[in-house]
Symmetry: C2
Subunit: 288 residues, 2 copies
């Protein structure tokens, strides 16, 4: 295939590098930053440069922030070749998939929404690596109007570049789960580090502290937009977490040991169930 | 040395196994469970069994929950041989160290308080492993009245069995930092899993979700006691975290993007500083 990757940041750059590393496809890069394109050419991460409008690709993969992605695709759509598979890798899907499935259908372009569940603490092309997706989950969000052949082509490429499980979800369900499993974790991490003892925590920090603080280094422009674009879902889970923390707080305040034991046991049982299920999943996949 | 380890759970068992694996010391085990002692003998984790009262050791290491440890040591103290080094590995030090330093001095026993910063999600002798302490931090809490030679002997043994950094802290400061870096992390993890979407989170769970939920499998009897024995410190940090989370909540509720960006940037800067310091520490130790 002739593949164009639009947006050569951590995700886009890693897609280019992984395609070049393990497939025979030809990859073109598109980015507003000329120095990034030059670096990518020098690295051999891309075979050339291009734009969505030049009409020369079997697949276009858009790796931009949601807000920019939607408006750029809208603008380019009239000039994208009919039959092109258009993929996006945005972290939210509700608004995006609804909007683009409708528009692309009218333009005879085959749109597939995806969310690669992979990342690093660093961002930008310089942080991109060819094995970022090794064993990672890919969420795909087909809806009514998604063309089956396009979906299977995207899944095939994903498997080629190393993705592990491919999970189908509705766009709305995806956004709700992302609020809980990813966005809330980032809010917690960012809140956790704002403690007067943070400066002295270094020598005391065991594994659990490092787990809590690892993802606090968010890019504020990108994440504030992601949080607001998924506001209702995130608010729901954040409120629930604050409530659960407050249960602990009250039991402690009241020196209620029995209640504390109950709260801890409750969490233990839920997590044990979770660990059991994860183990089962691994065994089914023949990994254990 | 002739060493007695009292309490053959995860920590005690791992101390026995690590001493046997890499030193020439003789290790005796003491536990209320006969089957654990038999297993340990069969495994070669100990050379024999003993009790604090039989007066035959150079060093006694007590690996029991704080409440049990204090009362057992008080009872045994009159029969512990003068000159014995008595070490405890309890997760809280404020009350413990004050109490035992005073009592042991009067009995000519040399007490040293320690806290090995190592653990696993599982507990009990069956979970113990010889390399649990490899590269882990050990906190030691010497106070006025701690004998220097005893302290150095304990540090020497700790280095032999693989501990990385040895950190000195006052008992009170230790307990405050433990509330923040460990206990709070456990409360968060236990609260995080109590979400209606937990059952479906499996396929969506990336690294940050797993980080958040990993330590939710606490033993409720042990941890409720630890939380209450360190109540004021934990309450302080928990209140602060709830406040910081509420800042996010309010900004989201009000759709205040600028405020959200500020909150995220604040967390990012603190964590970047933290990562920088950790890197620097590694470089100083010649690891980087």
């Amino acid at each position: 295939m002739q593949i164009l990757v639009v947006g050569m940041g951590l995700i886009g750059g890693s897609i280019c590098k992984s395609i070049k590393a393990v497939t025979e496809h030809t990859v073109y890069g598109c980015d507003v930053r000329q120095d990034v394109l030059e670096q990518a050419l020098e690295d051999g991460s891309i075979d050339g440069t291009g734009t969505m409008e030049d009409g020369a690709y079997d697949m276009i993969i858009v790796c931009l922030h949601q807000r920019i992605a939607i408006s750029l695709i809208q603008k380019a759509l009239p000039r994208i070749k009919a039959g092109t598979i258009l993929v996006d890798a945005c972290g939210l899907k509700g608004k995006m998939v609804r909007d683009l499935t409708y528009r692309c259908q009218k333009a005879d372009v085959f749109y597939v929404g995806t969310h690669p569940m992979a990342g690093r603490e660093k961002s930008g092309y310089a942080a991109s690596i060819p094995n970022l997706f090794q064993g990672a989950n890919l969420i795909v969000t087909p809806v009514e109007g998604t063309q089956e052949h396009a979906l299977q082509t995207v899944i095939g490429l994903a498997k080629e570049i190393g993705f592990g499980q491919i999970i189908q979800a509705t766009p709305m369900w995806h956004d709700n789960m992302i609020a809980y499993t990813s966005q809330l974790a980032h809010v917690v991490s960012s809140s956790y580090v704002k403690d007067f003892c943070m400066d002295d925590a270094l020598s005391f920090s065991g594994g659990s502290f490092q787990d809590m603080t690892r993802v606090a280094t968010m890019d504020e422009t990108m994440w504030a937009a992601l949080f607001l674009d998924n506001r209702d879902n995130l608010l729901y889970h954040l409120d629930l977490l604050i409530e659960n923390l407050t249960d602990y707080r009250d039991a402690l305040k009241q020196r209620d040991e029995e209640r504390l034991q109950y709260l801890i046991a409750e969490g233990r049982q839920i997590q044990e169930e979770n660990v059991r299920k994860r183990q089962q999943l691994k065994e089914e996949k023949g990994e254990a």
